[in-house]
């Protein structure tokens, strides 16, 4: 099976690889794994005023998993939390031209986004001074 050009590009030049300090204010961390194949993905967002100003990832897995998370961080940057919530794994499949056997990699990336958003909301909620009005839909 050959990888699409876009997957190869993300694999060779991963965007936003690295990590933030997870205890830093405004940082949400999503840590997910795929027990079927053993892939591990960490995706982090940095949020200011309900907008994602930066995103980073680290992925241990196949080329498609790396590409999916790399693409996800690219898409996340500049999005509001609500917009980020709407990113679907099918968008990633389409953009990267993932074959059916690699769809689970995009699912993993979507799960990582959701987990990072949830972690951010949890951290923001536990702080008393909730400056923003409402935190969008948590769906």
């Amino acid at each position: 099976m050959a990888y699409s050009d876009k997957v190869v590009d993300h694999f060779n030049n991963p965007r936003n690889m690295g990590s933030f300090n997870k205890d830093e204010e405004g940082v949400g961390t999503g840590m997910v794994g795929a027990p079927e194949c053993g892939d591990v993905m960490k995706l982090q967002i940095k949020v200011q005023n309900d907008r994602i100003v930066d995103a980073k990832f680290k992925t241990f897995g196949c080329g498609s998993a790396i590409a999916s998370s790399s693409l996800a961080t690219e898409w996340l940057k500049g999005k509001t939390l609500e917009e980020a919530e709407r990113i679907k794994n099918t968008d990633i499949v389409q953009e990267l031209n993932l074959p059916p056997v690699k769809i689970h990699c995009s699912v993993l990336a979507e799960d990582a986004i959701k987990a990072a958003l949830a972690d951010y909301q949890k951290k923001a909620g536990s702080k008393t001074g909730t400056g923003s009005t409402g935190t969008g839909s948590v769906q």
């Binding site: 027990p35 053993g38 960490k42």
Partner: protein, 237 residues
């Protein structure tokens, strides 16, 4: 052609699997019709344990498994059907293939447990376990060390230090993998004991779910650890 006529063979076979595909008498034997002695297809719904004539238990004596496998192989092997009709050859081939898959799956304790979890709890996804964040963090950090080692000069002082660190990590992870497999074996015993008691009260159900969930957790974590160990072995040999 009237599909609903009672003599329509193919349809009847589907409706009543205990009916011989050939002579349509009731099949009393396990794989062969007692009346016409034709081989009978192993149903697709037959689980691998049943297929090999074993109870649905996780602790399996390898010699018993092997004996059952050979016994059934002798019944199904396509070589013994060379002079038979095409239909019988096709059935024997299908049966032999199913039997081989069943044997391969049950022979390996990890695959056996994965298979049982599938049978008992549907797909993997239905058992929700929380991801082991510490283990993930460890794997990702280790991957950084691996990258640094791969990119650097192996004969330099830093290279040697990195290698020593990776070797220590590899040993620790292999120990952990062995521990996980040990716990899995203990869970096998607990699972089998629960099945043998055959209770159906709420407490037995809670215990059943706990065992399935714990097995799922260990199998998942083992996959993560195994992956990074493979990577370590491939890099430092």
């Amino acid at each position: 052609m009237n599909q609903h006529s009672p003599s329509s063979g193919a349809r009847n076979v589907q409706m009543a699997r205990s009916m011989c595909w050939h002579c349509q008498s009731e099949v009393a034997g396990e794989y062969f019709c007692e009346r016409c002695v034709k081989v009978q297809p192993v149903s697709k719904e037959t689980d691998y344990f049943t297929c090999l004539g074993l109870p649905r238990r996780l602790t399996i004596d390898p010699s018993v498994l092997e004996a059952k496998y050979y016994e059934r192989s002798r019944a199904f092997h396509p070589d013994f059907y060379l002079n038979k009709t095409e239909a019988e050859q096709a059935i024997s081939l299908d049966n032999a293939a199913t039997l081989n898959t069943a044997y391969r799956t049950l022979r390996d304790p990890v695959q056996r447990a994965e298979y049982l979890l599938d049978l008992e709890a549907g797909s993997v996804k239905t058992i929700r376990t929380s991801p082991p964040a510490d283990l993930f963090e460890e794997i990702l950090n280790l991957q950084d060390t691996l990258d640094a080692y791969r990119a650097g000069d192996h004969s330099s002082e830093t290279g040697r230090q990195l290698r020593a660190r990776l070797e220590a990590e590899r040993e620790a992870l292999e120990r952990r993998q062995a521990e996980m497999e040990g716990e899995l074996q203990r869970l096998f015993v607990e699972w089998d004991a629960l099945q043998d008691r055959g209770e159906a009260d709420s407490q037995a159900r809670i215990e059943r779910d706990r065992l399935l969930k714990r097995m799922r957790e260990i199998l998942s974590n083992r996959t993560y650890v195994k992956n990074i160990v493979n990577d370590l072995v491939a890099t430092i040999g």
